[in-house]
């Protein structure tokens, strides 16, 4: 029982990174129709930015949680304006290819600038240590990560359901044909939404900084799992991204605990089952995917 609680917390913590990043991937896909291959690289940039800001300006995790997503927002908007927008009228595969190239570029630039062995990161003291819960020591940092992720997901959900902007975005994401029919102009939200999605990946990176190795390659395998997450959750679905993220995190943790050798393969098996049984994903709609 104790072990199950620990694995659950660990799975949800790992799932938090996936959920936040997948949420970004989902809104970008929803509004732009673009699958952003560079999302893993943006996650990496978020972590690297946090480490660099701590090293140069002494900006702690608290500051980084605000500043880095804002920086990533601006960076994402620049990427959209300079690169992504030119390919929007074409087959979405072109933007997949573009962002793939961008990934190679970003990873190598970070390698050259910040080396290959990784960057150090110190978290605030408040977030170290454990809390006792039913005789089990649970790491505060993992609980913190879960808390932030849930808050942000909830915030995004409120944004989507309670504000005009959100409704437009949601309409475009989940009911593109309806948005078109109602004559809603999605066009001017394209750039901010792309930036917003990138900011979410950056936020996941900041949260990962104290917990994981900060290297140029840290997003390379992350993006593959992220793809599995959105395929499982349903690419067009915001809820699917979040649920898929946490689900994959839990599968990873329990897989590691009870079937260590197959932990990584399990995620892909889950994906295969979903593709077979519900090709559009758990929360996806057939029309929402091309």
């Amino acid at each position: 029982m104790n072990a199950v609680l620990q694995y659950t917390v660990q799975g949800l913590a790992a799932g938090s990174f996936y959920a936040l990043a997948a949420l970004g991937l989902a809104v970008i896909f929803g509004v732009l129709g673009v699958v952003n291959f560079a999302h893993g690289a943006f996650y990496m940039l978020g972590a690297v930015a946090a480490a660099v800001l701590l090293d140069t300006l002494g900006l702690s995790l608290w500051g980084a949680l605000i500043v880095v997503p804002l920086l990533m927002l601006v960076f994402g908007m620049l990427v959209e304006r300079l690169l992504v927008q030119w390919l929007l009228p074409l087959d979405p595969l072109y933007n997949l290819l573009l962002t793939f190239g961008l990934t190679l570029l970003l990873v190598d630039l970070v390698k050259r600038r910040y080396g290959v062995s990784g960057l150090p990161y110190e978290r605030p003291d408040v977030l170290t240590g454990r809390v006792q819960l039913g005789g089990v020591g649970l790491p505060i940092y993992q609980l913190f990560v879960i808390g932030v992720a849930l808050l942000v997901c909830l915030g995004v959900w409120l944004l989507m359901t309670r504000t005009r902007v959100g409704m437009i975005v949601r309409a475009a994401t989940e009911r593109p044909e309806l948005a078109g029919a109602l004559g809603i102009n999605v066009g001017r939200w394209v750039t901010p939404v792309f930036g917003f999605g990138v900011a979410l990946a950056g936020l996941a990176g900041v949260l990962a900084a104290p917990f994981r190795a900060i290297t140029a390659e840290m997003g390379s395998d992350f993006i593959i799992i992220l793809f599995a997450v959105v395929v499982i959750g349903g690419l067009g679905s915001i809820v699917g991204a979040v649920v898929g993220g946490f689900l994959v995190g839990l599968v990873e943790a329990f897989g590691q605990a009870y079937a260590p050798t197959f932990a990584q393969v399990l995620i892909f098996v889950l994906m295969a089952v979903v593709v077979l049984a519900r090709p559009a994903g758990l929360f996806g709609r057939e029309e929402a995917t091309a």
């Binding site: 699958v35 072109y94 997949l96 290819l97 970003l106 690419l235 295969a272």
Partner: protein, 338 residues
């Protein structure tokens, strides 16, 4: 929305490509291609020449799927690497001449492609790319763990190059190139035949308008699956030759970066041109070879920048652009004449 293949080359150009232009032009192109293939190891370091040939077939195989079915596979490393391991294991354990091992490897790749393809072709477009990528990565994890069979990250070392006891081929990369070239050319011929067969025309019809093809009574998924399996088989031929040429197989052959590399070659050469991939492969392999000795340590910066530039500015790729310019000039001069 235009599909990725027709956006690279206009529909009329594709028809021209399928018809192959005037017959004599086709022969000239064929002759030039064969001459280059035969002369290559005289100009390029022979092991590098062999790499170019293997990657070229791999890129052609990918374009068969990307250009003619509109399916972007980001998981073709599974078939290239899967066949490389199968070829290596056959060569090590049975000591057969290498072409036999390579055929065995290609067959294995096709078998592997059946379940992966069955699941993947249920989706198209972006989904297809992501699903193939994920499955290929799964294979990477499996090969890494099954180190008693694959050698894990030490690689499967000591793949022999037996060739009927002809020592020159078995030890010298220069002669090996000529022994392996027929396999590569056979693969390319097969790709050409597939594209120009009635089957190939159905694929293009499905790519351009799947609902219409379905209405005409074609089983769209089955056609896609067949194309996927054939493409995997040709990728397998290429991967097998690559494995024998190097004398070992290592894990990166299965990694998604390899899938990305072949996509880069195809895009650079020109999607939907079939032969563009050959040029793309030659350029990328020679670039990697050059950078390895240049002292410049940012190969990702160069390939990434090339990728971004090509996708943004030269979507037709090299072959596609050349053909486009040629066709435009021809139609202009024809217009003037009449």
């Amino acid at each position: 929305m235009t599909s990725i293949a027709t956006a690279g080359a206009s529909v009329s150009e594709q028809h021209a490509a399928i018809a192959g232009g005037r017959p004599w032009q086709r022969w000239v192109l064929l002759a030039v291609g064969l001459t280059v293939a035969l002369a290559l190891p005289w100009f390029v370091y022979p092991p590098v020449a062999m790499d170019i040939a293997a990657w070229a077939l791999f890129a052609v195989a990918l374009d068969l799927l990307l250009g003619y079915c509109g399916l972007l596979s980001f998981g073709h490393a599974a078939f290239w690497g899967g066949s490389a391991y199968a070829t290596g294991l056959i060569a090590i354990h049975f000591g057969v001449p290498f072409p036999v091992a390579v055929l065995g490897g290609a067959l294995f790749a096709m078998l592997l492609a059946v379940p992966i393809g069955y699941l993947s072709v249920k989706r198209s477009g972006i989904y297809f790319a992501m699903v193939t990528l994920a499955f290929a990565q799964m294979l990477f994890f499996i090969a890494n763990q099954a180190s008693s069979l694959t050698g894990g990250e030490n690689g499967l070392q000591g793949v022999p190059r037996s060739f009927f006891g002809i020592e020159a081929v078995e030890t010298d990369a220069f002669f090996f190139y000529y022994a392996a070239l027929p396999i590569i050319l056979l693969g390319m011929w097969a790709a050409w035949r597939i594209v120009h067969s009635p089957f190939g025309r159905v694929l293009v019809a499905i790519r351009d308008n799947a609902p219409r093809a379905r209405a005409l009574g074609y089983d769209v998924e089955r056609y896609k699956l067949m194309a996927f399996v054939l493409s995997a088989g040709l990728s397998g031929l290429a991967g097998g030759v690559f494995a024998v040429s190097h004398g070992f197989v290592a894990l990166p052959e299965l990694h998604w970066a390899t899938s990305g590399e072949v996509v880069l070659m195809t895009v650079l050469g020109g999607i939907g041109t079939l032969w563009g991939g050959v040029i793309g492969a030659a350029l990328i392999v020679m670039l990697a070879d050059y950078l390895a000795s240049s002292g410049f340590d940012g190969i990702g910066i160069v390939t990434g920048a090339v990728f971004v530039t090509v996708v943004l500015l030269f979507r037709r790729g090299i072959w596609g652009t050349a053909r486009h310019l040629y066709l435009r000039r021809r139609s202009a001069s024809r217009a003037r004449r009449s």
